[in-house]
């Protein structure tokens, strides 16, 4: 369970997040919706440790933790970026196995086997040795999901997972997210696509632009 208590964030004196409180229960899906500029992505960046917060506290299973400095060998949060940010110089398989072997120091053989299984599950059979430029948008996104999953995060975050895809792929993303939920993955999804958010959410958080 992830809890945010009074999280606030400013950019150049402008308040972006003002005392955000929320709880994500294990295995549930939280969607964060709201118009552009409301701070959805900023909130996600704070949760994933890419942006330090200016106030408040994060609790994971009741224990305080700081996503921005949490760099021990216990992986907590995985992120699927809006533009995926696969590493173009590495194959699909290398994209997935890089961090588990280098960061978690796992056995290369075991990591590869697991990566291949994950790729298979997300319908990426036969793509392991391709480079990202050879993939479609939807395939890239699934590789990004596999890459995050391979680190066994407690929580998986998505930034606008439908925005870079064709409309008919939206349903496919929904299905992937709901399947992962079935397997007990806790997920946070930032999106401006309200119907999509409603289809997957156990809990929705609306953020509004701050007036100041």
């Amino acid at each position: 369970m992830l809890e945010l208590k009074n999280i606030s964030k400013k950019f150049d004196g402008k308040v972006i997040l003002d005392n955000v409180n929320l709880t994500v229960k294990d295995g549930q899906i939280l969607t964060i919706v709201g118009p552009s500029g409301a701070g959805k992505t900023t909130l996600l960046r704070c949760i994933s440790g890419l942006a330090p917060v200016d106030g408040g506290q994060f609790l994971l299973d009741g224990k305080a933790f700081d996503p921005a400095t949490n760099r021990d060998n216990d992986s907590v949060i995985g992120v699927v970026f809006q533009d995926f940010q696969l590493f173009p110089n590495l194959t699909v398989l290398q994209n997935v196995t890089l961090a588990p072997t280098m960061v978690l120091k796992k056995d290369a053989q075991a990591v590869t086997t697991e990566a291949r299984n994950l790729l298979k599950r997300l319908n990426l059979d036969g793509k392991a040795d391709l480079y990202p430029y050879e993939l479609s948008g939807g395939q890239k996104q699934r590789v990004a999901i596999v890459r995050a999953l391979a680190m066994h995060p407690k929580l998986l975050c998505y930034d606008e997972p439908t925005s870079a895809l064709d409309p008919d792929l939206r349903h496919e993303v929904e299905q992937i997210i709901l399947n992962l939920k079935q397997e007990g993955m806790t997920q946070i999804v930032v999106t401006h696509d309200i119907p999509f958010a409603e289809n997957i959410a156990d809990q929705m958080l609306r953020v509004e632009p701050k007036q100041n």
């Binding site: 994933s48 440790g49 890419l50 760099r71 992986s75 949060i77 995985g78 992120v79 970026f81 533009d83 940010q85 696969l86 590493f87 173009p88 110089n89 590495l90 890089l98 961090a99 280098m102 960061v103 480079y131 990202p132 430029y133 890459r147 995050a148 680190m151």
Partner: protein
């Protein structure tokens, strides 16, 4: 043909000097260029100012002038280089500036998202640099580096101005002595061979990195 074999030894020994300037400049300037390029991107302002002034001076004045200043100018303030060392020093200073600009551009071309993506996977800075940033930068800078390398082959002929016996000077001496243009034709052929080798090697390197886009 007889004449050619007569002057060829002196041209070849001149080529030795040309190649020696070429290789030492490459070997020292490229690593220095990487360091200076990284320096340009630090947040420590005084360092970036110093580097920017240095790059401006090196790119803003002719290399010929820089050679003259290093060899004839620096002794005035008590810094005396022998001819060869003076030439090498000027070339390294000049080419490091160009390489630094190329590496700065290459480093800046890597999207922030790549660093962030590495960060959420909790790769260390060094791992990120080694596995993700450097391979991408190398591919980006290769064509520009190639240009400079080819330029360097020909720029090395400027060392004649401080009296070093390189390929061009060897040809010049023969031309003045025997009153014929033939030595210069041979000089041109040798330069063409040298740049052809460079071009081939660079093509190979670019091809090696073409497996991803």
């Amino acid at each position: 043909m007889h004449y050619v074999s007569e002057i060829l030894p002196s041209l070849i020994s001149g080529t030795g000097m040309t190649l020696s300037i070429f290789f030492w400049t490459i070997i020292i300037s490229i690593p220095l260029g990487i360091l200076v390029g990284l320096g340009m991107l630090t947040k420590f302002k005084p360092l970036t100012w110093v580097i920017n002034i240095y790059v401006w001076l090196m790119r803003g004045t002719p290399l010929l002038l820089q050679l003259i200043f290093v060899f004839y100018g620096l002794p005035i303030i008590g810094v005396v280089f022998p001819r060869y060392e003076a030439a090498l020093f000027a070339f390294i200073l000049n080419y490091t500036a160009y390489f630094a600009e190329i590496f700065r551009g290459g480093l800046q071309a890597i999207p922030v998202g790549q660093y962030e993506s590495a960060r959420v996977l909790r790769l260390t800075n060094w791992q990120t640099l080694r596995k993700i940033v450097i391979p991408q930068v190398v591919k980006i800078v290769l064509p520009s580096i190639g240009n400079e390398v080819i330029n360097l082959v020909k720029d090395s002929s400027l060392v004649y101005v401080i009296g070093l016996g390189d390929l061009l000077r060897a040809g010049n001496v023969a031309m003045a002595r025997d009153v014929t243009l033939l030595p210069m034709v041979l000089v041109a052929v040798i330069y063409l061979l040298l740049t052809a080798v460079c071009t081939l090697v660079l093509r190979r390197l670019e091809k090696h990195y073409s497996y991803w886009r």
